[in-house]
Amino acid sequence: MIGLKGISVFINNRSILENINIILDKYKLTIINGHNGAGKSTLLRVMAGIQKSNQGDIVYDEDNLLDRSSFVFQKPIFLNRSVKDNLLYISKLSKNSVTEQNIYNKLKSLELEYLWDMPAKKISGGEQQIIAFIRSTINKPDIIFLDEPISNLDLKYKDIIISEISKLSENTKIVITSQTNEINGKLLGEVFMLNNGKIL
C-alpha cells in the first residue's frame, strides 16, 4: 500500500531518517516503535505527505490516497472553536453525509458528550487526544496516521483509544507510532523498530 524507497531526512545537517526502505502491508495495522528522537514522528509525517524527505521516494498503490487520509498529531491541534465546531469543520470538508447528530452520538457512546460545547483548547490533554482521534475518523478515511496516540493518557482513555483503533483497523489502514511496547501487546499488526533514524 505504501512503499518507502531510500527515504532520508536531514535537519540542519543532522540525519533524522537514514535510507528507510519499508513496505507497509495494505491490510495490516502498522506499528512503528522507537525511543525518543528515533525519528518516528518524522517518518510518519513523511509517509503522510506533511513533510518532504531530502532523498528517496514514496509509492502509494492508489491514486490520491493521501486525499483520503487523516493524521492525529502527538500534541493535538485545535481551532479556536468549541469541540463541536472543530468536529463539524471536518465533516463539512467531506462529501460524506456525516451529520451533527452522528458526531454527537459518537461522543455520547464514549461518554464524552459533556465536551460538546466546550472550547477545544480548554479541555484536558487526554480529552484533546481522544477528541483528535474521533475527529480523524469522521470522514471515514482510508488511512489514518496516529502519532503516539496514547502517550500521556490515563488508563481509561488509553483503553478507549486502543479499543477504537482495534475496531477501526478492520476496515481502515492504520499506522501508529509508539515509544513503548505497550501498544504492541494490545493491537495486532506488523511492527517496525526504528533506532537513530534507521529501521532495525
Partner: protein
C-alpha cells in the same frame, strides 16, 4: 483669550453639537471609514496570500509593501494631485477637491499598513495550524478562509488601527481635498485651518472629537481582544 476661556468655549462647541462641527466630524468619519473598508477588502486577501502561497516575487512584494508603510502622506497627496489635476492622466474624472479623491488617498495610505499587520497576524495563525491544515489536504482558498476566521479578533484590531491612521491623517487629504468648508473639510484639516486663522476654540474642539473617537476605538479594540483571548484560548 485666556486658556481657561479657550477650553470652556471649545467644550461648548463640542457639547452643543454645533452644526459646522458635526458636519466636519461626519465628513471625517465618512472618508476614513470608506477608505478603511476598501483597504481591508484589498489587504486581507492579499496579506493572506502572501502568508500562505509561494510565488515568484513574493519576498519583493513583502519588502515593497513594508516600505510603503513609511509612505509620507504629503507625497501621496502630491502624486494624486498631479495625476488628477486638469493636465493629469486622470484629470478627465474631475475628482480633485472631492471626497472620493480623499478616500483614494487614505486607501493608499492605509492599505500597506493593513497588509503588513494582517500578514503578521495570519503568519502567526498559519504557523500554529500549518501542519493540521496541510494534513487535511484542503485547497488554499479554504485554508485562507479558515486562517482569516481564526484570526478574526486580531484582524478587527488591525482594521481599527487602520481607521485610526486614516482619521489622524492630514497631509494627503489637505492637498487633494482642498479643505473646502461644507464639502471636504475634515477634523485634521479643520484643526490646521482654524489654528492658522487663530480660531483656537474650534481647533481644540475638533482635537477633543478626534481624541474621543480614538478613545472609543481603543475601547472597542480592548473589548474585542478580551473576547477573543478569553472565549476559546486556554
Amino acid at each position: 483669550m485666556s486658556t481657561e476661556n479657550l477650553f470652556s468655549e471649545s467644550l461648548d462647541i463640542f457639547f452643543n453639537y454645533d452644526y459646522n462641527f458635526i458636519e466636519i466630524v461626519i465628513v471625517s468619519l465618512k472618508i476614513s471609514l470608506s477608505a478603511t473598508i476598501i483597504a481591508s477588502l484589498i489587504s486581507i486577501p492579499l496579506a493572506s496570500l502572501l502568508s500562505v502561497k509561494s510565488f515568484p516575487g513574493r519576498y519583493l512584494l513583502i519588502i515593497f509593501t513594508n516600505t510603503l508603510t513609511a509612505l509620507p502622506p504629503v507625497v501621496v497627496g502630491l502624486f494624486l494631485y498631479i495625476l488628477f489635476s486638469n493636465q493629469g492622466v486622470f484629470g478627465l474624472y474631475d475628482l480633485l477637491y472631492t471626497i472620493e479623491i480623499m478616500i483614494i488617498a487614505q486607501t493608499i495610505l492605509i492599505t500597506p499598513v493593513l497588509i503588513t499587520l494582517t500578514k503578521e497576524t495570519i503568519d502567526k495563525c498559519y504557523n500554529e495550524y500549518r501542519d493540521y491544515l496541510h494534513s487535511l489536504r484542503i485547497q488554499n482558498r479554504k485554508m485562507i478562509y479558515t486562517l482569516i476566521w481564526e484570526s478574526r479578533y486580531s484582524l478587527i484590531t488591525n482594521i481599527l488601527v487602520g481607521l485610526g491612521r486614516g482619521l489622524s491623517e492630514v497631509g494627503a487629504i489637505i492637498i487633494v481635498g482642498g479643505n473646502i468648508a461644507h464639502l471636504t473639510r475634515t477634523m485634521t484639516t479643520g484643526i490646521v485651518l482654524e489654528t492658522s486663522k487663530g480660531d483656537l476654540s474650534l481647533a481644540i474642539s475638533l482635537g477633543i472629537a478626534l481624541l474621543s473617537i480614538a478613545f472609543f476605538i481603543n475601547i472597542i479594540i480592548f473589548v474585542i481582544k478580551y473576547m477573543g483571548e478569553n472565549k476559546y484560548n486556554p
